[in-house]
């Protein structure tokens, strides 16, 4: 492939044009990331008067801390549930939308709206719905005989943040699933229908395998989202409680730094998260290039 070569008359113009992007990257990524790396090998006393170099001690302590390990598993469970729930709901909606012919754009547009809602707002919204005293969803559950209280029940709290986090992601997943489904030639499902496959068999044996690249891509995107972008939801609803039941890694980073004032440990946790996001991104790039084999 030939690349287009643009020639600028002024030598400084290209640099000027990329400067804003470089500046943003430096201020909001390179600088904080290097600060985190630097802080992660330091330890301060409780009053912030003395700072000493401790090497990898912060990391060693972290992985010896049962609370941190618990938070790790909480996060894994949380992201698996968010990815699973949001993808399942999105897939069902996409399969139904794929069959809609009239007013399809209206339906699609409405389904995309939740993605425009900020995570914290989504959190508040679901917090109101599930509030044990004033929430309509909690009231409905109460009528059904379930005593919902995410202030006292760890599993209720987890369910709340999973629902709030997944709800927003459904829109995004829906778009990709719908595009994926519409890219499958209609004649394939028609051929399968003539070959004697019912609607469910057609879905499982024809559409689903052909959607597998989309599924893989969305798993990575949703896990990244659940790991790193759900701070607002947790902060607005459960604040990590009750009893650390919803204290996911990204929330713990913030809490240890700004409530526990343990900057060294918090920085070490950020570095761990950074490694995870780099690994996930690497996996994603590797497979997006090659596509998943089907």
């Amino acid at each position: 492939m030939r690349t287009k070569k643009v020639t600028f008359r002024h030598r400084w113009l290209p640099y000027l044009l990329v400067a804003p992007q470089i500046a943003i990257t430096i201020v909001f990524f390179i600088w904080p990331a290097s600060q985190a790396l630097y802080q992660s090998v330091l330890r301060q006393d409780a009053f912030g008067l003395r700072t000493e170099f401790v090497g990898l001690q912060n990391f060693a302590r972290l992985f010896a801390d049962p609370l941190y390990i618990k938070s790790f598993f909480t996060t894994i469970a949380f992201s698996a549930m968010v990815a699973g729930l949001s993808m399942l709901v999105a897939l069902i909606l996409a399969v139904m939308a794929d069959r809609v012919i009239r007013r399809a754009t209206v339906y699609r547009t409405l389904l995309i709206w939740p993605y425009a809602v900020a995570p914290a707002v989504a959190g508040v919204l679901w917090w109101f719905l599930f509030n044990p005293t004033i929430g309509i969803a909690a009231y409905a559950l109460d009528q059904l005989g379930y005593d919902w209280n995410h202030y006292s029940s760890g599993s209720d709290a987890m369910a709340l943040i999973v629902i709030a986090a997944a709800w927003r992601q459904v829109s995004y997943n829906f778009l990709f699933f719908l595009a994926g489904l519409q890219a499958i030639p209609r004649s394939l499902t028609e051929a399968a229908a003539i070959d004697g496959a019912g609607p469910f068999k057609r879905f499982w044996s024809i559409q689903m395998p052909l959607l597998s690249p989309t599924v893989f891509f969305l798993i990575v995107v949703n896990v990244v989202y659940a790991f790193f972008e759900t701070f607002g939801i947790v902060h607005a609803t459960t604040s990590g409680g009750p009893g650390n039941a919803t204290n996911i890694l990204v929330y713990k980073v913030w809490r240890d730094a700004f409530e526990g004032l343990n900057l060294g440990s918090s920085a070490a946790q950020s570095v761990v998260l950074m490694v995870i996001v780099i690994a996930l991104t690497a996996i994603q790039f590797r497979y997006i290039e090659r596509r998943v084999e089907y």
Binding site: P185, S187, L188, E190, A191, A192, A193, I194, D195, G196, A197, K201, S205, I206, P209, L210, Y294
Partner: protein, 351 residues
């Protein structure tokens, strides 16, 4: 083996668009029926209604005497070859062919036997483990054929199965399809927009236009005696020439004043049709052609030009080496019985 009968069916899309305004057709058991027509004439819609992929708005379709209007495609005992082959890209050639049999819970050994037999008949033995994307266009087409024949259905439906192949392969595969269909003796409906394909394949040729059947008959019968001006212009390549004129009891007077004697007419505006290959050079011939372009095809040459004194375009297929040059004037004639007279307004055959 089963006959297919289509009884005054209509297709009206939800928006009120009437694609097929009432059409009947009977296809005998074992017959290869070709539906041909320009794009948008409703031939694919008709085929898809027989397959069960489109709802029938009104009327009845029967396969082997059984009403199939409300049956699922799978229950109609048909198989279909699609224009884009519709092979399952994630399955091997074997699995592609076996899919329909597995769905019908056929025992494994029998699936194996049938797929092997079909692969043998189509020359696909070495490719059973490959994925469709590892095959050439012609091989994919044969896999699609294989998937249709392993089921041993009552009828085959072909939806322009050759239009994605190159010209040479198209001719070769056309012959193979004909041979296969004759050997299996399975009733078939074949949709194409290519009149040459239609002529060579059909037992029964159905020419469609705007959702209606223009003419049904054996290919040569349709070629020799087209029922309408549309059929006359559609079947045959290069297409039939139409010379406008006025009918009289003694014959047709062309618009340039030349008379062509044809008894049996009454009167009115007509189009006098004559096929390019039926025209030949005759110094006393009535048709005077001012030559514009000469296309040499090897065995023959197509001479394009205008009927002297009119705007009517004429093509004459001439053989031999003594060909005219652009700017020349030729005198042509056609043998008795090679003239076709159509009503100018209705397009209906008068003679």
């Amino acid at each position: 083996m089963a006959n297919i009968s289509i009884d005054t069916i209509k297709k009206i899309y939800p928006g009120g668009v009437e694609v097929i305004p009432g059409l009947s057709l009977d296809i005998a058991a074992g017959e290869l029926c070709v539906l041909v027509g320009p794009s948008g004439c409703g031939k694919s819609t008709l085929l898809r209604m027989v397959a069960g992929l489109e709802e029938v708005t009104e009327g009845e379709i029967r396969i082997g005497g059984r009403r199939v209007n409300d049956l699922e495609p799978a229950a109609r005992d048909i198989s279909m070859v699609f224009q884009n082959y519709a092979l399952y890209p994630h399955m091997s050639v074997f699995d592609n062919m076996a899919y329909g049999l597995r769905n019908r819970r056929m025992p494994k050994p029998e699936i194996r036997t049938r797929v092997d037999a079909a692969a043998g008949a189509l020359g696909l033995e070495g490719f059973l483990d490959r994925k469709p994307r590892q095959l050439s266009g012609g091989q994919r087409q044969r896999v699609a054929m294989g998937r249709a024949i392993v089921r041993e259905p009552a009828a085959f439906l072909f939806d322009e199965p050759l239009s994605n192949l190159d010209a040479k392969l198209r001719v070769k595969t056309r012959v193979e399809i004909r041979a296969l269909q004759q050997r299996l003796g399975t009733t078939s409906i074949y949709v194409t927009h290519d009149q040459l394909e239609a002529m060579t394949l059909a037992d029964k040729l159905v020419v469609m236009h705007a959702g209606r059947i223009e003419q049904v008959g054996p290919p040569l019968g349709v070629y020799e005696r087209p029922a309408t001006a549309f059929v006359a212009g559609f079947i045959g390549s290069p297409p039939m020439n139409f010379l406008p004129g006025e009918a009289h009891t003694t014959g047709v007077r062309l618009d340039n004043g030349v008379d062509i004697a044809l008894p049996g007419l009454t009167g009115g505006r007509v189009d006098l049709g004559v096929r390019p290959e039926d025209l030949h050079v005759d110094p006393a011939g009535p048709v005077e052609l001012s030559v514009r372009v000469v296309e040499r095809l090897g065995a023959t040459a197509n001479v394009h030009g205008r009927l002297a004194g009119t705007d009517a375009e004429i093509i004459a297929s001439l053989s031999g080496t003594d060909l005219p040059a652009p700017g020349d004037t030729l005198r042509l004639t056609a043998g008795a019985g090679k003239w076709h007279v159509f009503d100018a307004a209705q397009g209906i055959r008068l003679l």
